[in-house]
Symmetry: C2
């Protein structure tokens, strides 16, 4: 029985895992083909070649993750709560999508040249900024957030704190002889990230005493 869409999905899934694990040059087409229900022939049939497959896997990873992010709704929460929720969610979300994180790492190793070739990816990224912008604006309006901060830069900081966590866990853990992936350590890092962002954004006058 033939099933074009199913075959493509199957290939893409396997490809994502393989590329995320080994990188573009480290991944093996034959290996991907072997793990697939389909054959190597099909990879070339549908995706043209290794780079085409990588690009599609990358696009797919971005799409999936962005979709997940869109599910978050913080509009109904008061600003401080909303911000906290946003950071917590980002932290957990990154943690849940390790393959995506690794794809982004790999893509950065390649200086983002494949991202360049994909208009699809660049389009749907304004929404992340839009969310944080609204939360921030509400906080400033209500007087709990200090004014003058750039939403994009805020997004950057949050991303940094959450991304690093997944991306550099291996080396960090080995160097300091401590497993930063353990549930307890993870919880601490999450708390820290939330607190850090909060203290950065909330007016010092509105901060809790310590």
């Amino acid at each position: 029985m033939q099933d074009p869409e199913g075959t493509q999905r199957d290939i893409l899934e396997v490809a994502l895992a393989e590329f995320a694990l080994n990188g573009l040059s480290g991944a093996r087409i034959d290996e991907i083909a072997a793990r697939t229900r389909a054959s190597k022939r099909m990879i070339y049939y549908y995706f043209g070649g290794k780079e085409g497959l990588y690009l599609r896997a990358l696009e797919n990873a971005y799409l999936t993750v962005r979709e997940g992010e869109a599910a978050l709704d913080v509009e109904h929460l008061p600003p401080v709560e909303a911000l906290r929720r946003l950071v917590e969610f980002t932290f957990d979300h990154h943690h849940r999508h390790e393959a995506f994180i690794r794809m982004v790492m790999i893509e950065n190793i390649h200086h983002g040249e494949y991202l360049d070739r994909s208009p699809a990816i660049r389009e749907q990224n304004a929404s992340a900024i839009a969310t944080i912008s609204r939360v921030y604006q509400r906080g400033v309006d209500s007087g709990v957030f200090r004014p003058g901060l750039e939403p994009v830069e805020l997004h950057w900081q949050i991303s940094a704190l959450c991304f690093f966590n997944v991306s550099n866990r291996a080396t960090f853990s080995k160097i300091f002889g401590r497993n930063f992936g353990a549930p307890k350590a993870l919880a601490a890092l999450k708390r820290n990230a939330v607190e850090m962002v909060e203290r950065y954004v909330v007016r010092s006058a509105a901060l809790p005493e310590d």
Copy 2:
């Protein structure tokens, strides 16, 4: 004229550049050999093979960067100033050593398995923590820093803010259509990082109004 040490240094330098650019599997031994004053034969003579060379290049990158860090002296500064200086330095240092950052990224892609094989690297990393520990302790003692924070976790946060900056510049810039590597953007991100750490560590009562 023969020059064993020189040859090895030469090879290592080229290898670092090549590995940092293309990753372990992406790097080409022939390419490295071609860029070297030596020949491919020498690579195998001195380093055993591709993995051996990668490991040595990684070790070397860590060594160089840690040496540079050791040059920083913040003991004579008051705590808040010292902390600021530490973050600023880390930020700049990471920025100056992009090849090192990329090696760490690559090593994380490999789950730190080569770092594992190198006792040399793990040894000299306690010093970074020692420095920040002393600064933090002084700050707590003098009453400007809030107590109860973990130096290792603090180091983690600082690293995250500074590392991400170099590691994810490419994708971030392309997605938001803005060059985060430009001097102005860089200065802003640095200021943000410093401020973020400061507000995280300094007691809220001692924070400037905003």
